[in-house]
Every structure is written in C-alpha cells, then in structure tokens.
C-alpha cells in the first residue's frame, strides 16, 4: 500500500520525463533525415527555454498558488547576467561546456537573488499582491537593461546609464552591454541537447520538490493558509522557497535562451509583458498544477504558429481555435466528467485483463 504510493509518483514522473526523451529522439531522427526545416531548427532551443519557463511558472502558479505576471523578467535577469559573464570570459575560459556551466550557475543565482528580494516583502502579505509587483518588475527590468552601458578595457569595467561614449574607455575598450542594442557576440554555447538536459533537470527538481516534505508544505499553504499555519508550517519561508526556486529556474531558461543568440536585446517581444502572459497561457492551458501539461502545452503552442505559417492569413485564426479547444478540454465541467468516465473505463479494463 505504502510502497504503491511512492511507486505511483515515480511512475508519473517517469512518464513525464519519458515524453521529453521521446520528443528529443524524434527531433533527432527528423533532423538527421532532413525533415526539419531551418525555421523549426532555429526554434528548438527557444522551445526548450519556453518549456523550462512554463514548468517553473507552474511552480509559482500551480503549486504555490500565487500569480506571477513578470516571469519573463526573471528570464531577462538570467539571460543578461550569464551572457555578460560569457562575453567577458570568452577568451579566458576556452572550454565551452565549463563556461556555459558557470554562466548557468550565475544566471540561476542572479535570478534567484532578484526573486528572493522581490518575494521577501511581497510574500509576507496575504492577497494577490505578487501579481502586481511582478508585473511592474517585468517592465522595469526590461527598461533598465535598455539604458545600461557596460564596457571593459585595460583599466577594468566602465559603467554608464547615458550612452556608450560616456563610458570614457581607452582605445582597447570593448562595449559589452550596449544599451538598447544589448549584448552582441555571446558565444553560442547552448544547443538543443543541452536544452533537453536542462528540461529534464528542471523537471526532476520541480517534481522531486513537489513530492517531498517541502512540496507538501508549499501545497498546504496554497490549499489553506490558516490551517497550514495552525499545524506549524512556516508560511513565509515556504512561499519564499517556492518563488525563489521558480525565479531561479526562469533564470536557467534565460541562460539557455541568451547563449543561442548572437545578439541579445531586451525587447517587449522576448522579455516583455506579452512573453510573461504567453508563459502563463502555457501553464493555464496545460493545467494549473499539472507539470506534464505545461510541457505539452508549451510545445504545441510554440510550434503551432510556425507549422501553420503556410496557411498565411488563417494562421492566427487556427491558433486561437486551438487555444479555445484546449481551454474547453482542460476546464469545462462536462469535459472533465467525460474524461473521468473514460479514465475509469480504461482502469477497469486494465484491472480485468
């Protein structure tokens, strides 16, 4: 009985990770046989980043039960800090995997730190304040990055918030972060395989967290804060733990994303409000609190607009219809009842045979 319970979790987790592995193998076969268009090939690494983002946001929205509307902001922090590091050490650390590993840790740590600083005052409050604060944070961080100028020359680092000329650098100076033009020339250290490995790591972290003592505490806060407090759960501590982990994983997604681009800019399209909402759509349509659903929704909703590109004008129409169908499938009461009935029938058959 008890053994069975542990195994059930394990089985569920293995299925989720199995889906990712099968997807990876399929893509590898497709690309080897040349069935993958250039466009899709370019989309693979961002897709991995989106999956990680969706899973990490599900930790905040589904498991902790708080709404975050600025998840792209944490991705932005991770992307820029790690790209900055890689750009600086491009010539000193020549072994790319090691450089990427350190960049990954830096990106994750910086995003976690920012998440912690934001969460500390906000998560003490009871109510939907996190949504408002993260919404503002997402916009602020993007704008800060857009006016940031950092350069490096033989004297060390130079910093300005005006323009690249006011950095006052020597002749050998090199502008690393160039305001709205962002960071150019980041070494291309990430690829699809690394992306998939990071997805699996993220899944392991999130799923193992959920099925542990800490995860139970976090979910108990989501379900009933007053009762959780009455049985001795430290509310702020666990809220902060969940939110910080979520932010740090978003930072990981940012690292993956930035090391795939030659020129990294903070535009509304990649780190803005729309992006945050996009990730939230992945989470909501995949099922709040359903990690596997987030992965699947992220894949479908990222690839769909690209796959439908041939249909030109009807592309967004079909996309929106798919959104509605997914929403109905996951949330309509009748649909839930039908799915339950099917699941029961399926289970019964299994028992009989």
């Amino acid at each position: 009985m008890k053994k069975l319970k542990l195994n059930k979790h394990l089985q569920d987790n293995l299925i989720t990770i199995g889906i990712v592995v099968v997807g990876y193998i399929l893509v590898m076969i497709f690309s080897a046989t040349g069935l993958l268009s250039n466009l899709l090939q370019g989309l693979l690494v961002p897709l991995c980043a989106y999956i990680i983002l969706a899973v990490s946001l599900n930790l905040t929205v589904g498991i902790l039960g708080e709404l975050s509307l600025g998840h792209a902001g944490f991705m932005c922090v991770g992307a820029f800090t790690s790209a900055f590091f890689s750009r600086c050490t491009e010539n000193t650390i020549t072994f790319a995997p090691l450089r990427f590993l350190i960049a990954l840790l830096i990106g994750a740590a910086c995003a976690a730190l920012v998440g912690f600083l934001i969460g500390m005052p906000v998560l003490r409050l009871k109510g939907d304040y996190l949504a408002i604060v993260t919404l503002a944070f997402g916009e602020i961080i993007k704008n800060i990055v857009n006016v940031l100028f950092i350069g490096k020359d033989s004297n060390g680092f130079h910093f300005s918030m005006k323009d690249s000329l006011s950095l006052n650098m020597e002749a050998d100076g090199d502008v690393i972060i160039n305001g709205a033009q962002g960071i150019t020339g980041t070494p291309k250290d990430s690829n699809f395989t690394i992306g998939v490995i990071l997805i699996i790591l993220t899944l392991l972290i999130v799923l193992n967290l959920i099925h542990s003592r800490d995860g139970r505490a976090i979910m108990s806060i989501r379900d009933n804060l007053i009762a959780a407090e009455s049985v001795g759960i430290h509310i702020t501590k666990y809220k902060l733990m969940a939110f910080t982990s979520s932010a740090s994983l978003a930072g990981v997604a940012g690292v993956l994303y930035s090391h795939n681009l030659n020129s990294l800019m903070a535009t509304p399209k990649n780190f803005g409000y729309n992006m945050s909402i996009m990730i939230l759509v992945f989470v909501v349509l995949g099922g709040i609190g359903n990690i596997r659903g987030s992965v699947i929704a992220a894949v479908i909703l990222t690839l769909l607009p690209e796959l439908l590109r041939g249909l030109n004008d009807y592309r967004m129409l079909i996309y929106s219809v798919v959104l509605i169908v997914m929403m109905l499938y996951n949330w309509a009461p009748n649909m839930i009842a039908i799915r339950k009935r099917f699941a029961n029938r399926f289970n019964k058959k299994k028992e009989v045979s």
Binding site: K5, L209, A217, D223, S230, V231
Partner: protein, 270 residues
Amino acid sequence: MALLDVEHLSISFGGLHAVDDFSVSIEKGQLYGLIGPNGAGKTTVFNLLTGVYAPDEGFIRLDGTDITRLKTIEINQAGIARTFQNIRLFKELSVLDNVKVGLHNKFHYSTVEGLLRMPRYFKMENQMNERAMELLKVFDLDRQADYLASNLPYGKQRKLEIARALATDPKLLLLDEPAAGMNPNETGELMETIRFVRDHFDMTILLIEHDMKLVSGICEKLTVLTSAVYYVRATPRRSSTIRKSSPHIWVNKTGYDIGGITCHYWRYMI
C-alpha cells in the same frame, strides 16, 4: 499543576469587548467544554489561545510555560493543536498527505536530501507514511488514504481534521464545534471518537459546542460564556444512563436556556 492556565484574558475590537476577563484552568487529561450562545466569544477564545489574535490583557500558560503573544506556529510547536468551525482541510492533497503535513515538524530532512532523493528521504518518508497510516487507522480513514481530502464525506472530513491536528503531537487539542452540521448518528459516533482520542492518546481536550447532548455526554467540566461581560463555571451532571440525573448547567440567570435544556442559576462571576 494545570496543563492550561488562562488568566484574565481580554481582547476588544474597537469598542466591542469580544472576550473580557476570561480565566480557565484545565487539568491534564480533562475533557473540557466551552459553551454559550452565538457571539459570546468562544471562537475568539480559541483564536487567542492559538495566537491568531494577541490578547490585550491577561496571560496563557501551557504546562507552566508562558505562551501569551507567541506566533501561531510557535504555539503549535509548544503543544496546542486545533480544528476549525468551518472545516479547513488541504482539499487538493490526498488524505494521507493531509496528515503528513501535520507531521511536518516531527520528521526532518533537508530540501537537498529531498531533491536528490538521498537515503534519508526514503527513510523519513517511510516513517511518516507509517505514522500517518497509524493515525488514519485510528479514525477509520486508512482505506481512503489515497482519496483527495475534498472527496471525503462530511463526517470523515471532520475526523481527518482531528487526525491532522493530532499528527502535530499536541498536549492540548482544541475542537471548534466538532459536531456542527452532523446528524444525531454522526454526533454519537463523534462522541465515541473524542472519548477514544482522550483515552488512546492520553489527550487533554477543550471543545466548543452547541450540541448539548454532546457536551453533557462527554465533558467533565464546563465554562459557559454568555455574553462577553460575564461567564460561569459549572459541572454538568452526567445525563441519563451514566448518572441517571438530568443534565444541569449552572448559570447566573433564572431559566437560562441553552440548546433546549433549562438551566438553573447558581453562581456567577463578573
């Protein structure tokens, strides 16, 4: 020495004296009742005892240590666990996990050990499962361990809430209207359960209740909170089968009526 010592406890919200100069002393192993009409401040007393509100005046001592103005979590760790008038379960968690949240502070392993699935994780999780199943068995919930808590019938949800409170290994258990919304059958069963909890876990229990059958049936001592201004302590005479005398509650007003039982006045304190 009494397990719980409350003296001169007062709190007011604005101009309303919700609890005014409330004192009570509960011995170890006692089944103590707190009754009174709606709005008398019974639940406020519970909220004061569990640190939801900080009292304006007075102090609370549990087993000789002062727990006045401690935080809810600290009070729980000091040894007071409670249930709620309107059931507060972790609805989306399984019945087993509900109890395991209650065991949170009794079995420790670090986050890293949990994330990396180190041996200690499995050892502690197994111990937690065993302990939780033991508790569920006591309340006849072991066969529903995998159900979502929200899928349990009402009576079982009440029991699960008690099981979860007991999982924190308290010295004193506070039950806030455990029989609310139950039919006479369920109430009868609940009385058995409460008595069983007291004997089996050697527990001290303080309960709020409107159901006079339950109160006079199992409580050994009572405090009647009438309005916030005055209250009375009394001993209910055990009903029918036990002592063959009708239940009495002594209150300060002639013919004061609680739950259909006419009470005689005896003494009161202001």
